[in-house]
Symmetry: D2
Subunit: 295 residues, 4 copies
């Protein structure tokens, strides 16, 4: 088995991201920015949002700190009491600690292709230790990128065993994130819970329209004038998880289902690539069944 | 009661439109264009479509014929046997016979405003003999256009009577087309059947997502990243009639329900105006629960 | 002369906006947010940007401060030494001090209509003390809004006098902002300098394509597949000032110049309305010949 | 050298396309459709347009004719006098005679990659006998598709020789169409004339804005809010040939030139793919410096 190719661009070792959510209270921003400043951090990007419904506050700060690898522990120790004071959920993430992403695919390989190509161009910063497929077809697409493809067939009878085998692979490769790049198997609630990390799916409709199977056939039958795609986090309920990104393309009476499929492929590629890129840069903060996206 | 203002632009008396649908058979186009040519018609626009699912053929021809008003009867008489030979549904419509359109509105007047503006600019070619509203609020918007507003309040108890009164108005004004420009009453199946003509509604979501009441609140709650609007013909089943036009606009986590309402107003105005303009120019051919739009 | 109608929604007396630009230095955000916090301000919106080319830092803060009208002076006095320390350009603007906006129009009234309608709906928060036109045509559009229209004809010979008369009107009405809503006269450099405040123009092309006269005819002649509109601040050089907003719409070979004009009207309305709304909310920070837009 | 892969989908041997342009005269459509009908052709798609400026008429018919390969000669012979009668320019093209397309590329390979993907998926129906590049870099991209890459370096001194060598290759491979998929050499007028066939270029701006070199840097410097791409036929005048397709994507103050380049890559890929696909299906009819696109 060939060694996985490293992604081509690595973020600076001195860059980090701080993600915060807490009840909105005066002084949060002042306190956090003061603390970063006193530790010598230079904020290069900052975004914040207060949700009007529940007054939940969200913040994302990106900063450079000389000597970050050695000083990260001290910074975390200093931040902990502040976080406790404000009741924050928080994460401090060195940008150089790139996420380990597994790509799942079935027969349709256009989304897989797009992600691999953007990854190779350095537009998606991640390690990709493996691709998982219930079909052998993707081998040809994956081969030039030097990433192993694990073919794990799934039948109604073998589903539990197959999921166990995949979980074992994910653990062995220390995977942080699963991307379902047109993986046409429904993951069990047990699998989702056991994996425990985020799973991004691309659904080939403008959710919540056309949940479930064959959305392009559903769209054609309803006679819609736009078709869409939706990238969302996977939850136990089918096609109902928090939406990260959506887009649409115009169609008309001349377009048969096969045309919707073809046009839709481009929308799917674009929408999934944007969602994955935002996730990898820690720009997506889930909030109940919705997302705050600091894009 | 002030006399309704005439629309500002009238199509030429020599222009007509021929709409055809029939089972697709070789020779349809050749036969029809030959017949028009032999009668001296000059085709200025032509569009056709064959639906792959059922091989139904649709055609729209726009042509100029000198002396059309006097020669229309002869043309129709000549066309009838051709139509019978091919089993056609067909309509031959002088462009100068502009449609008589009634606008229905409740409190939200942005769609009404947009249609009246465009009508006054000559972008919508129609007669508008009356506006019907279950609220008196629209009077101020309608007044400068010299069109009578009929205030017909509707309550649960008075609904049948109100619908009867409205039907009487429509008959008195010889209305061809109803446009529901944010009219927030559900029309009964009886009303739809009794009126008998086309009714265009603007629904403030990207159907089939968010059928029914408060679609912007539904959209906000689901956390979608695009909001939309749908113009469709009204059928007895709520929000399920043939779609004429749809469009969307991007929203994000910063947008509260009030922002979706505000952003959505622009989408609604645009989508409804396009649908009405296409209908008035006989560019929309219903086909089962879908539409062929020769835009 | 009728009294100008007040705009329908007034911002809270406790809300203010702080706009800052300075060379990027560590500690700016921490210092500013600390100072606001210590004065009891609650930041409700915040956005920032550092321009990579010249490391210029831009920030917009929106905050609520109980008793703002009485405490504004003290806050400004406290902020002045901070601003000096960091070499800031800054403005502290009570949201309730709404801008006084003059609308200029010639014969095409669609942009004027759109702005007046959004203003009446409360989507544009401004006072509109007058409309200026070199034609009398707009009177009918303006009348229902209770705003005086000043008809100032302009000929090659009378241009200097006409500009002097308009400047006198602007001074008398204490105008902060001019919006050229399809005003087809080129303002002289002297006029621009004498007025001294911001002037927003809508140009009916996707600048820098098709500078100057008749951009739709230019676009048709070049055979472009999209037409656009550009809202920009006016400078002495024609159509070359900082761009605030742009948008486009698809066109094709079926569209004659008249169709481009009609389609373009909708783009112009949308683009100008967005630009004016952002300016009124102090979301547009000029930076050389470009703009930072915190939309 | 490996043998070029055949494209994966071949059109039916019975399908053909008829392209016509002539001065608009009554009876053109009737005569043409009658003739096709009498020869047993079944029209499956038809589109027409009359240019209002010069009353030039354009028509594209797609039809099935059983036994087409044997009957093509007879059909052409029958059509010739009709064409002469109406003064038509015309082409009768069997769909199965797929075009032979050469792809030219320099270092940026995203457009090449996209075209090769779509070709392999059967979305672009063509033979691709060779790829030409002035750099060796594209070899890795091209290799998996089994298409030979010809590396023809170009310097100021060697340009004439290089163009001669490329022309020789094009002749040897019987190339019908050149696609410049980010080929960063300007082709000489002599080369364009000697090749004689259509050449499609992708320019990375919304032409006519930002003609020439470094359009993304020009766009960033002007502060535009949308960036675009333009696919056009190449003529001797740089970036001035007939436009086939354009599209844009929104950018903002946060986007540096490198971001415009990255965002623009997706627009370029989409726009070029659409233009090439329309050309391959004979949907683009040049008309002076403009195009009629029956998409």
């Amino acid at each position: 088995m060939s060694a996985p190719m490293a992604s081509l661009v690595r973020p600076s070792a001195e860059r980090a991201r701080l993600l915060i959510s807490c009840a909105d209270r005066p002084g949060v921003v002042a306190t956090v920015t003061r603390l970063l400043f006193e530790h010598g951090a230079n904020v290069v990007d900052s975004d914040q949002h207060t949700e009007p419904d529940d007054l939940r506050f969200f913040m994302r700060l990106e900063f450079d700190l000389p000597g970050l690898p050695e000083r990260l522990g001290a910074l975390e120790a200093a931040f902990a009491p502040v976080a406790e004071q404000f009741g924050m959920q928080w994460r401090l993430i060195p940008a150089a600690r790139v996420k380990r992403m597994a790509l799942f695919v079935s027969k349709q390989d256009h989304c897989l292709q797009e992600l691999l190509w953007l990854w190779k161009k350095g537009e998606l910063i991640a390690d990709i230790p493996l691709v998982v497929s219930n079909h052998p077809d993707a081998r040809e697409v994956v081969a030039p990128f030097g990433i192993p493809l694990h073919h794990v067939p799934v039948t109604a009878d073998s589903k539990a065993q197959a999921e166990a085998a995949v979980l074992e692979l994910l653990r062995a490769h220390q995977v942080d994130l699963i991307v379902l790049a047109r993986y046409m198997q429904i993951l069990s609630g047990d699998f989702i819970a056991s994996f425990g990390g985020p799973i991004i799916n691309i659904h080939h409709s403008f959710l919540p329209a056309f949940v479930g199977a064959n959305p392009y056939a559903q769209a054609h039958s309803r006679g819609v004038k736009l078709i869409g795609a939706t990238a969302h986090y996977v939850t136990a309920e089918l096609d109902a998880g928090p939406i990260i990104e959506q887009d649409v393309h115009r169609v008309g009476h001349r377009d048969a289902v096969a045309d919707l499929v073809r046009i839709g492929r481009r929308v799917e590629r674009t929408v999934l690539a944007r969602a994955v890129s935002w996730h990898l840069e820690d720009r997506v903060l889930p909030h109940g069944n919705k997302t705050v996206v600091f894009s």
